[in-house]
């Protein structure tokens, strides 16, 4: 018994030393490597077009809107775990909005600027390029909420709406973020910071599960280290470390938030839950979810700790679309993009659904 434990202790120690050795060589890793081009810019926003990989792509282009928190490249984190690559290989023509990193001069950018400005202008640009009247909108997380707002305000521009882990009903006690947000004095935060620091939001995300996110995750990394000196072990280690660092980079790559947009999103959505009640307004125009009449695919993650399913499910009842589908995959908020189910189940399902409607 004691001998076995000694061996375990030794193994763990060796793994730790080996892990440090690998990290000290600072392995080269990159994210978002799928070939792309910038086709439109406005302020700090960039519209990225991914180069199609099939000769005749699907005629209806897809515009992906990602959240303002964290960066869009989670959808293209590494070549074998890339939602972007998978959708391209399925024959789609893909565009993604990169919101950039807001700075002091962007503190007055409103939610209306995001939805009726940046998204609307991107949609028009894509429509011009493809000489088409409608495009498919694929919204992810908060970007999905924006896509819902846009589709309600400009239904004639949207052929299909796909939302992935996107909240529309914020009145829930299943997620810590929703509980906490209700007690925050958003005005004081925005008035003081102007541009709300990404690090402040990140601290909130880390608080959701501090022991696992600040300690266990790193212990897990060292536990996966292979101590052998052969080529296979080296390859496994290299891949493990690279994948870990890619995710680590994404987690802590948190852009600051444009104050006015943050103020309205937090107050109208998280605190007053106006969107699902059809009471939210953007620049005086009421967002009526009943205006959404295009086909809708609403995707959720069963173990989502940031956007619980009861925040997304009500969307299907709120819209007037006849063709609507709701799917829940047994994975988490991030796993839905980078987990094993993403490539095998989630992306193929989105592709299959869209092909029938584009």
């Amino acid at each position: 018994m004691n001998q076995t434990n000694d061996i375990n202790l030794n193994n763990d120690f060796n793994k730790f030393v080996k892990g440090i050795e690998i990290l000290m060589k600072s392995p080269d890793f990159s994210v978002g490597t799928t070939p792309s081009e910038i086709i439109y810019t406005e302020d700090k926003m960039r519209l990225i077009h991914y180069i199609p990989v099939v000769e005749k792509p699907n005629p209806t282009p897809i515009l992906v809107t990602y959240a303002l928190v964290n960066r869009y490249y989670i959808l293209d984190l590494q070549p074998d775990k890339s939602v972007i690559r998978k959708l391209l290989s399925e024959g789609f023509d893909l565009y993604v909005i990169d919101w950039g990193y807001p700075s002091g001069s962007d503190r007055y950018i409103t939610l209306d600027d995001y939805v009726n400005g940046y998204i609307h202008n991107s949609v028009n640009k894509i429509k011009d390029i493809h000489k088409t009247d409608k495009i498919t909108l694929l919204g992810v997380c908060q970007g999905g909420t924006f896509a819902v707002m846009y589709s309600a305000l400009h239904p004639n521009n949207v052929m299909n709406l796909v939302t992935v882990v996107s909240p529309v009903n914020f009145d829930t006690d299943k997620c810590l973020l929703n509980i906490w947000a209700k007690n925050l004095d958003i005005d004081k935060i925005v008035d003081y910071y102007g541009i709300v620091p990404g690090d402040l939001l990140n601290a909130g995300f880390l608080l959701l599960d501090p022991f696992r996110l600040l300690i266990d995750k790193y212990i897990g990394l060292f536990e996966r280290v292979e101590c052998g000196e052969d080529a296979t072990c080296k390859l496994i280690n290299e891949e493990n470390i690279k994948n870990f660092l890619r995710m680590e980079k994404w987690i802590f790559d948190s852009p600051d938030q444009a104050g006015e947009a943050f103020r309205q999103f937090m107050k109208d959505c998280y605190q007053k839950n106006l969107l699902i009640k059809n009471e939210m307004t953007l620049n005086g125009k009421t967002i009526n979810l009943k205006n959404i009449n295009m086909p809708l695919l609403n995707i959720m993650a069963q173990y989502d700790h940031l956007v619980s399913n009861d925040q997304s499910i009500p969307l299907n009842d709120a819209v007037s679309s006849v063709d609507k589908e709701l799917l829940i995959f047994p994975t988490g908020h991030i796993g839905i993009f980078v987990g094993s189910k993403s490539q095998k189940e989630v992306c193929p399902k989105i592709a299959e659904w869209l092909k029938l409607r584009s």
Binding site: L9, I109, G117, D173, L176, D185, Y192, F211
Partner: protein, 251 residues
């Protein structure tokens, strides 16, 4: 300013539990400090300022209660956190005893780590789900923002302005102006694009109209030509017929 009630103090009676004794002493000390503050400096800071630097002094005095508010909330939430950690520590200890059947040896470090991680995570999660934590965090953030805002004002008032240096407030004014200008520019761009698009459409319409007119002109010209051609052909034929009939007559 947060008021400390004596009820709270009474609720916090010392327990026989050794783990709790330290925490209760902290609470007792803090409550005593708070009530002393309220009856002494707290009251002093409420006195209105006067004299030549009345305004400045008035502003500066505001800082003290702002700081005390933050400190009070911080201590309160710290005590709440400590209670949770104490609870988690107790639970971990109890679990270790049960699950390792009393054999607490260094070799079982992995079991210990697993139990520690799960127990602490779950206990903390339960606390964080409670309205108690959300309330604490909300208050802490509010008072922190108040203090930060106060510090900013003081730095601007007492350091930046006398040093003739730009303040954040002034930069924000420029930012607002910049945002408005950018927005106006975008609106104008949009309008110009619309107008030029409409111009192009009307130009195209005109061109196509002209095209049609010139086409029609050409057609009518062609018609005339063909008519003339026909007439001249007919003339020629009738001339030929005349010539033939003259020939016949002469023969």
């Amino acid at each position: 300013m947060e008021e400390k009630s004596s009820e709270k103090q009474n609720e916090r009676t010392a327990s026989a539990d050794p783990l709790k004794t330290c925490l209760d002493s902290t609470r007792e000390f803090f409550d005593t400090w708070m009530s002393t503050y309220q009856s002494t400096f707290g009251k002093l800071s409420q006195i209105p300022a006067f004299g030549p630097i009345r305004e400045k002094q008035g502003k500066m005095m505001k800082g003290f209660p702002t700081y005390v508010n933050l400190y009070t909330t911080w201590v309160e939430s710290n005590i709440n956190f400590q209670t949770v950690f104490t609870d988690a520590m107790k639970k971990t200890y109890e679990k270790m005893i049960t699950e390792t059947k009393g054999e607490l040896t260094i070799e079982k470090y992995k079991d210990f780590y697993k139990i520690w991680l799960e127990t602490y995570s779950e206990t903390l999660k339960e606390f964080m789900k409670s309205g108690h934590f959300a309330n604490d965090m909300g208050k802490l953030m509010t008072h922190f923002m108040d203090l930060q805002e106060y510090n900013k004002e003081m730095i601007e008032e007492n350091i930046l302005k006398p040093g003739n240096l730009p303040t954040k407030t002034e930069i924000d004014e420029i930012n607002k102006e910049l945002y408005t200008l950018r927005k106006t520019l975008k609106d104008l761009d949009k309008k110009i694009n619309e107008i030029s698009k409409n111009d192009e459409i009307s130009k195209n319409d005109e061109i196509s109209k002209n095209d049609e007119i010139s086409k029609n002109d050409e057609i009518s010209k062609n018609d005339e030509i063909s008519k003339n051609d026909e007439i001249s052909k007919n003339d020629e034929i009738s001339k030929k017929i005349d010539a033939q009939s003259e020939n016949k007559r002469s023969t």
